[in-house]
Every structure is written in C-alpha cells, then in structure tokens.
Symmetry: C2
Subunit: 174 residues, 2 copies
C-alpha cells in the first residue's frame, strides 16, 4: 500500500540529572505511537526522531563547570553532542528491537521553532509530541511546545499528554 | 497484538444545500486516517463516527419551512435524523468497502461539548477532527471545534487541516 507513513517524533531529555535518558513525556509519546499506531504493521511506518538541544540550557544547569578558555566551550559542545546521541540511541535501539525503520538527528535552537522548521524540510506525514501536561488541577494546560506545533507545523500534529499517575511530584522532574 | 485501536472520527455535513454529504474537512480527515494510519492493517483498527447535530441550525437554514403545528417540529426532527443517517451512511459504506470495522452514531448539541463528552464516555484511543483551516493568509487559524477538543478531550487529538487547494472560494461552502 504505497509509501511508508513517516512519523516524526520530537524527543527530549529528562531534566533529572545524570546519564541522559528520555523525558517521561517523550517516552510516553513513543510508546503510544508504537502501541496504538504502528502495532504489528512495522513495515508500513518509519519513525523520524528529532532532538532539539537548547544551546545554553545545559551550560547554565551545570554549576560545576567553569569556562575559562575556548577549549572549555568546545568540550561543552562535545559533551552536548554525546548526551544527545545517547538520548537518540535509546529510541533507535527500541526501534531496532521492534523492527521498525527509523532515523534520528539532533538540531540546536528553540525547540518549537526548530521542530516546525524540520517539519517543513522533512515533510513527515504527521508529528507526535509529548506534553508534560497536567496535574489533576491543570486539565486545560498543554505544553507550549506542543501547542505551538499544533498551530504552526505544516503537518497534522498529535499531542500525547503524560498520564496523571506518571507526573512526578516536582513538575520540573520530567 | 492486543485490542484493536479505536479511532473516533468527528464528522459533519457540508453546508452546501442539497442531499446531505460530508464536509470537505470531514472527508479529508477520514481519507487521511485510512491512508496514513489504517493502511492495509484493517483488522487492527475500529473507526467510531460521531456526528453532532446542532438542534436549531437546520431549522434556521431552511427558509422554505413554516412551522405552524407541533407536527411540523416532529417532521423537522424526523428530517434531521434522516439527514444525519445519510451522512453516516457515507462513512459506514466506505469502511465496509475497505474492510475496516466501524460504528456510527448521532448526538444533538454543541459539537465541541458533545465530542468531548462522547470521548469521555466511549474512551477511544484517539480522536480525529477535520478543520476548515486556513486559506493561504490564515496559516495560524485552526477551527474552534478542533482547538477546543485538542485542549479538553480526554484522549490524544489529531487535527487534519483541509488543504489550501480544497478550500472553496466561499469559505462557508465546505
């Protein structure tokens, strides 16, 4: 039945410190896509993982670092690249296990802008974004990245809200 | 692979007069769902068509009708039921041709409220809504029904915007 359906999945890191692992909402969006859309039909779909790194974010977070020379910045960029690659490795490995084709890449910039730009460039059939959402009293809230993409991305967008029971106590700890 | 994926599709009539046929955006949302999600995998999906009729809308539209007795209203309601059934027949027939299981039903009320209420009741895996969108200068606009559902429906929602080349010259003629 024609060409494969190309699904772009925007993924990001958990904000918890330590070894880079996917945020709960990224993982949720991926798991949902496999379970509800791809199912057994692995040869019909291709997953395109986009990870957007916010250039300064990690630098500011990392209070142990002192930047005293150009090399320090080079090392920081190198470290970011490695963290990003480890994050994408998680999803690529999962796809390999399941048997669904995939691609993964990293871009730098403002996530919502970059995601929409990459949609325009890559033209997926649709985009999946996870959203931190919503504690029990925040039903209406949908993350700003997903909300922006729903309005501006040049393809259909499906937002997967994190389940209430997966929301960590500190909402920043995703 | 487990239970079928249940996709609710909200459909409405074209506002063009005459025999009830689906709006361009409803038809677009359905065609997209078959082509991009269901594909050949017909036994894995079930489509749930919900058509919400706005109680007064047809009455106001229909300038030929004169309501002089309770029976006139009964006939009007009867006529609405028939129009709604014809609309759903279109989608049910299509599903039958394709070989994908489906259900279809009609509710009365404010579409955005009723859709979210039915999502809560029926608990589909996700909801597909068409959107009139967007002429070339209205990129940001997404229909109020779809926008409301994206924010309030208790399941993931995917909005299928009508393509620019399918937009009729008079934007009301959908």
């Amino acid at each position: 039945m024609g060409e494969v359906t190309r699904i772009m999945v925007a993924v990001n890191e958990s904000s918890l410190k330590g070894y880079p692992h996917p945020s709960i909402s990224s993982k949720g969006a991926f798991d949902w896509t496999i379970k509800k859309i791809v199912r057994d039909n692995v040869s019909s779909f291709n997953l395109l993982f986009l990870h957007v790194q916010v250039p300064d974010e990690d630098g500011f977070d990392d209070m142990d670092s002192i930047y005293a020379s150009p090399d320090d910045f080079k090392r920081m960029k190198q470290r970011d690249r490695i963290r990003g690659a480890h994050l994408l490795e998680y999803f690529v490995n999962k796809c390999h296990e399941i048997g669904v084709g995939c691609q993964a890449w990293i871009k730098q910039g403002d996530p919502k802008e970059v995601i929409c730009h990459e949609v325009k460039r890559v033209q997926p059939d649709f985009l999946v974004v996870g959203s931190r959402g919503l504690g029990p009293f925040q039903k209406v809230f949908v993350g700003t990245v997903s909300e922006f993409c729903v309005k501006h991305a040049e393809c259909p967008v499906i937002t997967i809200k994190r389940k209430a029971d997966e929301t960590p106590q500190d909402p920043v700890d995703d």
